[in-house]
Subunit: 117 residues, 2 copies
DNA sequence: AGTACGTACAACCATGTGGTTGCAGGTTAA
DNA sequence: TTAACCTGCAACCACATGGTTGTACGTACT
């Protein structure tokens, strides 16, 4: 199954922003590593208030890196590696762009294109 | 040659933060795509002040995604795909973490075979 | 020489971010 | 029912961010 949901620029902003925090990267690391736990279960591992951790989880959720599933009075948090893969694919595309520079250089030498868009 | 410079948590924060902005992603896309241009050359493509673009380039530079090389009165900006690869590797590690969950499950359910790869 | 260009940096402003505390509502356990 | 727990949200604070304008300085062009 190949899910091909295009992410908007704002989606990517949110995605990379969510990854740009040590605590949040640590949270998704634990989640992807096998932990299936509640928000307070996550919060118990960090030396900050519950509300602070809850906000971090909310940021991860809005970025699509994490999903919440109610179980009784708590909500289990689960990692979503598909969004992670999307971010990785974008970086990979950029790297590929670099690799293909030299091919494009050949094309430029043969047939220069108009420089402005 | 494998360059193995470990990035600190703060380095990764800076790296992903630099990627969490549409304008900055656009800049590195153009740079990796083959453009070798000055700061003002970059700025001319965006509908914002030169100083704003200059700040974006500074953020990219502090994240290590870009390097500046003086040529006369201008500074040529060059993309650094190595830092990009570092970010991608981290995401890949996280995905691998997720994948290994199921490999561990397989190992539990199946006869212990010599693991491929 | 003088002028125009490229870059850097400071000051400023509005908004966002990461943290706190406190409160309210739903769920489970005694 | 009552108490304890889990979650969410609002208000607040200090600081960072993304934008602006203005200034300063070195380099290049004529």
């Amino acid at each position: 199954m190949v899910v091909r949901t295009d992410l908007s620029a704002a989606d990517l902003d949110r995605l990379f922003h969510a990854l740009a925090d040590t605590t949040r990267r640590d949270i998704i690391t634990r989640l992807l590593g096998g932990e299936t736990t509640s928000v307070s279960g996550i919060a118990s591992r960090y030396d900050m208030s519950f509300a602070a951790v809850q906000k971090h989880v909310a940021v991860l959720e809005e970025a699509g890196l994490v999903t919440k599933h109610p179980r009784g009075r708590e909500k289990l948090v689960r990692g979503n590696p598909e969004r992670l893969a999307r971010a990785r694919q974008l970086l990979q595309q950029l790297e590929h762009l670099w690799a293909s520079r030299f091919r494009q250089l050949d094309a430029l030498l043969a047939e220069p294109r108009p420089p402005k868009e």
